[in-house]
Symmetry: C2
Subunit: 504 residues, 2 copies
């Protein structure tokens, strides 16, 4: 046992350096996406690639493999959820994954990420897909190479899906998405029959500084601690963690749509609350981060939508937003505002989509990723196929690439594959977990209506956040809700909420 304790310490020291290099790269990435002047990009991409390669070298240090082998009997002697057993298990999983990919290849991927991101930041305002076409083709090529370091998959997308949603496969995602789609499409159709909601007052001029101040006030109520985090501006909002004491969110504001910045602030705060709630003793190890894209997204979508777009929430905050924007909202009744921020309306931009049609965006993107990786769709056909899918699935056709294929950073962040399933999995998980929270604490609804979130947050910390990556997503969902991932809670939530709003 004393011997095992010493080996655990050795393992943690090795992991700490690798994790620190990861955090360093997160700082470089955060700066690149917030403050870096345009001409800094070439050197920054090279520097990120170097750190990425060094991190990968650390993560594949054979000393980690030896320690894991030596620690296996110790791990097997412990309960499954013991910290050390979980550390050894999570490290084994990450190590086996890491050693399959050469460090040099990872360095090249990191370098390509920086270059592609830079191209995207210029291609989107220029509405010019051709500026990123070659880089995206290379991204696809690299993504396929990456997948092929994991032979034996049933589908080429599987290894990439497994990176972010461990345990998920193309087949499983397709099954879940099929079930969900079968219930979503009739709901969208029923809503389309009803009179359209007026949301024009949300598209007046809302000065950015006021929007930001309001958001800060709300997320402070949520429990976001500015002594352990920040909020900055960016092109495509994200959350990033440098340590348990430094977790940051980024936001993009639209001065002519008050929804954009506000709900994106609540969304990224959901991610941040998860990271801030992880047991700080897991810092610097594979346990010290959210357990999957899906579970992460469940937290962001819960605070953005289930909480942040609910009637009780706005019953409390409506006077505050009205007094922040008296000219814009002074004469708008609460109910009209609540209906407007929940208006269901097939649109072009995923991150701005309503809760009902959002998942249709994700399904389009997921299918496109899968087809690109399979080779059944080419990069050159992508803009055209994109437009066709939006036309058939959402009933609207993007008039340009800016709001089509260039709309978000994902494929321009260096990888195609495994980038999208987590968003809809997250919606499903958020509804299922929130039902469990309400069952344990029915008073949560009333507290939300009073601008109090501590019961919900503490329950999430206790049941979800603190564990970091100790449990895989499916283990966690089962532990927290008593059943595996289901489609029904989300559909119950959507049918209830939007049935009410639209009088279905």
């Amino acid at each position: 046992m004393a011997d095992s304790a010493a080996k655990i310490q050795q393992l943690k020291a090795l992991l700490q350096e690798a994790a620190d290099l990861g955090s360093v790269n997160s700082v470089l990435g955060w700066d690149q996406q917030t403050y870096m002047p345009v001409e800094g990009n070439a050197a920054r991409s090279r520097q990120s690639a170097l750190i990425g390669r060094l991190q990968h070298e650390r993560n594949t240090d054979p000393a980690i493999g030896h320690l894991l082998d030596e620690l296996t009997p110790y791990a097997e002697s412990l309960p499954y959820d013991h910290d050390d057993a979980s550390l050894i298990r999570a490290t084994r999983r990450a190590y086996e994954q890491n050693i399959k990919v050469p460090s040099q290849f990872m360095g090249g991927m990191y370098e390509h990420m920086g270059i592609t991101y830079d191209l995207w930041t210029r291609a989107r305002p220029a509405n010019d897909f051709s500026m990123v076409r070659d880089a995206l083709a290379k991204t696809l090529d690299l993504s396929r190479q990456l997948a092929n370091y994991f032979p034996g998959y049933a589908h080429i997308a599987d290894p990439l899906i497994d990176f972010s949603d461990t345990g998920m496969t193309t087949e499983k995602v397709r099954t879940i998405f099929g079930k969900l789609r079968a219930q979503l499409v009739p709901l969208v159709a029923a809503i389309a029959e009803r009179p359209a909601i007026d949301d024009s007052f949300l598209r007046q001029h809302y000065p950015q500084a006021d929007q930001m101040r309001l958001g800060v006030s709300i997320i402070t109520d949520y429990g976001f601690d500015f002594g352990r985090g920040r909020q900055d501006l960016t092109h495509h909002p994200f959350m990033t963690r440098f340590s348990s004491g430094d977790v940051r969110i980024t936001t993009r504001f639209d001065e002519y749509d008050v929804r954009d910045g506000l709900f994106s602030t609540l969304h990224e705060t959901g991610h941040a609350l998860y990271e801030l709630g992880i047991d700080p003793r897991y810092d610097g190890s594979p346990l010290g981060g959210g357990t999957s894209s899906g579970v992460h997204e469940s937290q962001s979508r819960m605070w953005e939508n289930i909480v942040g777009r609910s009637l009780p929430f706005w019953t409390h905050y409506y006077p505050q937003i009205q007094s922040t924007f008296p000219k814009q909202l002074g004469n708008v009744p609460l109910d009209a505002f609540y209906r407007a921020i929940n208006k269901v309306n097939p649109s072009l931009i995923r991150v701005d989509a309503d809760e009902v049609t959002y998942n249709l965006h994700v399904m389009i993107r997921f299918n496109l990723e899968v087809e690109l990786l399979e080779g059944t769709l080419s990069i050159d056909d992508l803009p055209e196929v994109w437009r066709a899918r939006y036309t058939s699935d959402l009933g609207i056709t993007p008039s340009d690439d800016k709001d089509g294929i260039l709309q978000d950073v994902h494929w321009y962040g260096g990888i195609i594959g495994g980038q999208f399933q987590g968003y809809t999995l997250g919606n499903l998980i958020s509804a299922q977990i929130y039902e469990a929270a309400l069952q344990a604490h029915p008073e949560i609804t009333r507290e939300v209506g009073a601008g109090k979130f501590s019961t919900l947050l503490n329950w999430l910390r206790q049941n979800v956040h603190q564990h970091g990556s100790k449990f895989l997503a499916d283990e966690l969902i089962e532990r927290v809700t008593g059943s595996p991932l289901q489609v029904e809670p989300l559909m119950r939530y959507l049918n209830g909420k939007f049935g009410g709003i639209y009088g279905l």
Copy 2:
């Protein structure tokens, strides 16, 4: 020759990685000193220490030593100022210095730097030297250890001075400072006999946003390119370079003294213009940075003072600052403003000091550093001795440590020794170089009076900036001005300018 070219490429590749790690650490440091939330510090310090250690490992890679040995005949076959000869020479100098210090020790120093900086940011507002006392004692201990990795010095401060002002020694600095002091003290005394200048209107309320906007406008005229740089807020202003395409300045504003932020902006811009002017082909090598503290400071002090506090400059910019602050300055004549920003008045804070007494601050600090390293002064006696020296040399006694020993970051950035001589050397060099610039282009004065700086900037780029660290400070000064470092140009400048202002 083909063989040498290949070896130069190998050398550059090795140096590039080391330089990139240095730049990464600069990003971490910039963030730590601008945006990082307080609770991020522990992890950040550890991460910086790791990168510092990795950089030092790269810089001491024996492969560099072998390549340098193999390249020596090639270097000797080239003219002294050939790029390759200069690269080999500068790399040899840095390598010989680096290999004397163990990487583990450097990692420890980096870690201590972060911790001490964090303590200082809290001790200064709290006006509590005891909060940093132990860390500072450790800094002194580490600084002495560092010096002792370079045995054979005449004075223990010499190796530390040599790091930042290569070729300088305690003895040489004392000689120069002695000469300067002999001429400065009578000037200060003569000015003290004259009626005090009224500068009360500079200490009205000047909103920070307006100050910043004005500064941005002026430094844009100077030639600072925001596509290759930024300006952010910090506790203690500094300039930092991440690559030739990303050079940043930081500023601290005082809303109740318009001088602070404005002249600090011009000062850091002077540093930035130097870095931005270095031949980008030197990026990623020991040539790709300013050549010494003194020469660097000559650029910052030139743009801050010789240009930025001159009458022609304000003849052009006074209407602009008046229209920015009409209530504060609308009724103040240009001449009163010019005299006020040049008021000579012994004060407590070095960075806010006038051009005449500034060097007396530096001399106090230099002497304290030397005595601490010698062991003739202890950390515990430091606050008391500080007060005594300010009383004897400047005639004023700090009433607290906030404006005394805690006033600037230097000793709390991880090292004591070699931190201060560069400031006064810089003033000397700036005057000597500016005389040479005026001799070559007498029209510079007129252009400054029209808000045009391109002749001066281009001349500096050509003669100083582009060379990076190709020449040592004394070589550069001799090349640019035709003579070694002298005290006379600065005294001619000070006597002329302040003789005029004070009617001496």
